[in-house]
Symmetry: D2
Subunit: 355 residues, 4 copies
């Protein structure tokens, strides 16, 4: 059964190589932890990229098969579990005190986590746009990369990112428009009725103090403005979304009718993507707190201002923001237009037709 | 042995009362989770306040006894473990989808987590200052509280907060000035030598491009300015610290010489306090992400703008910031002035004197 | 809009009641933590039971609708997230030292966590059988309950448990037998071929030492015996499973062909159930470790022997064991009989038929 | 400032080597996760060993200096944080389904995690004894190691393990016996009084049913027997402890008087050691659950029976059991003999003597 009888745990994992690759440059005790921790980060980044390959492979197909969606969800779940671990892993970094860090911080010179190519690739492949990036000492982070890395990254940028693939997939969702049914028209009517009723109710409430009434009406006006944008009444101004309208409509449809068999897995996938986005933000934020603890108001290695830069990326480097924005447009289930029977039927499984 | 033979698990925990106190106001399935989750938060808040009682009790003594420090550290560790749980607990909140939330969000009307008196007390007792608070719709959060709660909170504000108690305790630390030894003077000299050496090294490095040299010199200037503030050369301007200078000096001393037996527990306590601060920030930030997910860009209940407000509090409602700032002033151990033997000896245990 | 204008955060959560229900019986500091921690456990138990209501409601229907499966999975995921929190929560218990516990342990007298009726209900409703329970001082745990609790529990036992509901649901899965296709027959043939090939390969390997060959053949014999049981050749002896054979066959089918659209959610539900089982075991085991730490080899309150009893329940009080056992019968995908096209088609969505 | 201007993030972490060391042997998607996960385990094991070096270095000194205890505690805390991560990391393993595992399980042949030399070293260095190990298919695990690994491990076994170093350190603790004070004698008297009082109270309780009285008296007898062993009245039989009596006495002393300044850090260290032990057990137990999920009742790779073997090691491979056992001998603080003033004084800091 075994042509290569000498496979061992050690050779399988290439431990001879792996466990020789820790080369602290100072005698400071905590540098070993620092090296090991960053190496494990990079190993997990490699796996995230590997899982993204599978996810992007499926979404890159002209038609996304239903039977491929389980592995998409499995890979995204794995990525979120990894990100949870990476957030958690900062606990170990924080077993180092600032004074211990000072013992070897000088060895880095201009080297910095900023230069992690795998992390940059994850950002780009998920869909972080070049122009949306927070500046770093007023410069693009690319200035801190060697030319070859910069070029490699530019190649990655040319490919369709996950967020755009997902947008395309959503745009193609059936059901939203079917013979004799326009989700968009029904939904819009429901929204307009809801806003109108709210307006009347406020007017009819004679006991409400004037100040409160004004506040309530202002809130309504704000909601109306957001819906107007969605329904295209505010035409002209650039829309604040990355997804196009058909994609937004589908995402909304999936959120509203998620219990339909054909939408259960798509709904789960949209949730998974929001988890990825949220966990990336959380990791950045914890990273910011850690930097503050280690460095106070000193400059980080690589010249960055540490905490402030990282905290800004947590807030601004969000990729699946449109999916979070969907919540703005949800309406209560009680106001939801019911699906026509033939639409609902089309979202079920064939086997029910069997006698 | 048992005069009251009827004590049972149920009566001990008053489960008859406790398990009747969940009163959802809608038929929406997820409201029960919402109620239970918030109730557990409030139970844990009660315990945090109870542990703060013990911590503040010790620090409220005119002399803080060494033998009382273990319980301080134990209570702070318990608080950090609770906070870690509370951060984690948001995972359960996120098992609710925005559409599920919409099913019962209307029942709250103006009620909001904003009104949690226990949470406000925790903030005030730790030391969050009224003026440092982020405004809420341009108003103080107090406007949203009933008069009696506002008054109760004002009473709490009158007491010395934990951060001020810790500042006082630090100011009184011995060792920093002892016969024949001034930590401050030695440390200042070490800093000045270090900066001077760095300046010379930059000047002597003829291979460094001009742009790089300028950047390095700018960095040095920035550090010099911060040290000048610390050493009081920038006199006149208000200092950017909450601690007074003796407290800062002690905190710095404890960080630098933490291995001395008498400083090991104080050092641990300072770390615990930073953990509390960091975990509060992290909880606020995760809360902000969750609000965005649930509400998109809708207003939160109680009129708040949700995500933005919460994210702002994460960054600005920091209480033990001065302790994080200490890292700015740490100098490498190799440059550290050695302690005179009699100072070092005074930080050891008596039993070593025994024959 | 507001008929009851006085709803506040405090009244909504009934905090007046909730925060008065902590009544430590001793002056020991740590008793408050002990009370709060157990109360939060009970609150979460209440929520688990509430989610089980929904899950069991769906499975209690004569036909389980596909559109109801999402909420089943949502409730099970929520339960697993709660269980993860409950495991984690033991960290807080362990901030108490054994000596601190001793300060108030005497107040319990015969009261014990053993008497948590909600926990007993969770066990019974999931499907823990009376006879499968580990004895407690040689007696059934019921002896330690008041008569009314015992009766209440007996009522719960009369209802169909979740594991049996799931078994029934699995037994009814279509696809396994369809016109012109018998999964069981194809699978059995595949297994037999696989075992036969393995046997030949071992025989043909002339380089294998005799001892190794014998070991390999023994392994094969063990596998053969397990498959014989499954295929019913060992008839007569009682089967070591709780599920009947049709249920086992379906579970196997779902595991093997999980990528088919109609099986993706059922597969997720089976995984969720295993997560529940695993997390219950993990909680019991951590509980056992904690008991050992607190009590050493002393008797626990209520007369139990603490660690050993709890560790035994971790291993023996497993409910969805049959689902774990399915792994025994999986065969490599390469040996898997392909599904006939009409069977595969029946597991897809109707909308693909649309022109 | 920079003689080697080309240090980059990539070269510092040797990423060129590290990220080439993943060599899955099959086309199965999940094998990459399997490789990465095990490699991160091995990196963390390396760090655990590195931290153990520091801990064992300090305890290997003829006199353990108080000023060295902080780093001991810091290293132990880091180890526990790593172990917590390793437990948590199994979540990622469980994103793999049994069927996915089957796709590449055959590539291992006889390779198995069993052969992880670093893990074996951790066990041995902590103090797991050869004879205490659970057999594996009835054989010592060494049979599965190549000769060179076996020899290397034997070398490690020859060195004093951490548990023995700690025992030696405890045996040397001062305070337990000081001029005019014998902790042992006072404690023993307190125990005997306590047991005698309990016996009388049971006798005097005329309302107690006979069965209950007998049970209470049996419990007392059990406690008496354990104390007899401790006090040496059961002489002759081998003691069930690894520590010798002076070490046990010191551990007890430290637990009982932990608030004394000189005992605060030693007490923390004993807690850290128990955390290490508990987390190792927890990791083994989760590993056992995972094995069951992946393999059902199949044999694990390497021929082990998986779940049962691993679950047995969780229970039996405990190293700091004696520290858990200390809880058996704690007595309520109210019964604790007070320390004579000169003993208490000797445990304080010198600086209090200053005028």
């Amino acid at each position: 059964m075994s042509k290569e009888p000498d496979l061992s745990y050690k050779s399988y994992l290439d431990l001879g190589t792996l466990l020789q690759a820790q080369k602290p440059l100072s005698p400071a005790h905590d540098e070993m932890m620092f090296v090991v921790l960053h190496q494990t980060y990079e190993l997990w980044f490699k796996l995230i990229l590997f899982e993204l390959d599978r996810v992007q492979g499926v979404f890159g197909n002209p038609v996304v098969k239903d039977s491929d969606l389980r592995v998409v969800s499995a890979s995204l779940s794995r990525i979120t579990d990894i990100l949870r671990l990476l957030v958690r892993q900062l606990d170990i970094m924080e077993t180092m005190t600032p004074l211990d860090f000072l013992d070897f911080r000088h060895v880095f010179r201009s080297a910095s986590g900023f230069q992690s190519m795998q992390f940059r690739q994850i950002e780009v492949r998920l869909g972080l746009q070049h122009d949306a990036r927070v500046g770093y000492d007023g410069k693009s982070f690319e200035n801190f990369l060697p030319a070859e890395d910069r070029d490699a990254l530019h190649e990655v940028m040319k490919k369709t990112s996950l967020v755009d693939q997902v947008g395309n997939w959503l745009s193609r969702t059936p059901f939203v428009e079917m013979t004799g049914f326009s989700f968009w028209q029904s939904y819009r009517q429901a929204v307009m009725d809801m806003l109108e009723n709210d307006r009347k109710a406020i007017g009819a409430n004679t006991q409400m103090p004037d100040a409160a009434r004004e506040m309530e009406l202002n809130k309504l006006k704000g909601m109306q403005a957001q819906f107007d944008l969605l329904f295209g009444e505010g035409e002209g101004e650039p829309l604040p979304w990355r997804f196009d309208k058909p994609a937004l409509q589908s995402a909304l449809f999936i959120n509203l009718y998620r219990d339909q068999p054909a939408l259960q897995i798509p709904f789960k996938i949209l949730s998974d993507l929001m988890d990825v986005d949220e966990l990336m933000a959380l990791w950045r934020y914890r990273h910011a707190l850690m930097a503050q603890r280690m460095l106070g108001t000193k400059m980080g290695s690589g010249g960055s201002t540490g905490h402030d830069y990282l905290a800004a990326t947590a807030t601004k480097h969000r990729i699946f923001k449109d999916l979070f924005g969907i919540s703005t447009f949800l309406i209560p289930r009680s106001k939801l237009p019911p699906l026509p029977p033939h639409v609902e039927a089309s979202m079920g499984f064939k086997y029910w037709d069997k006698p």
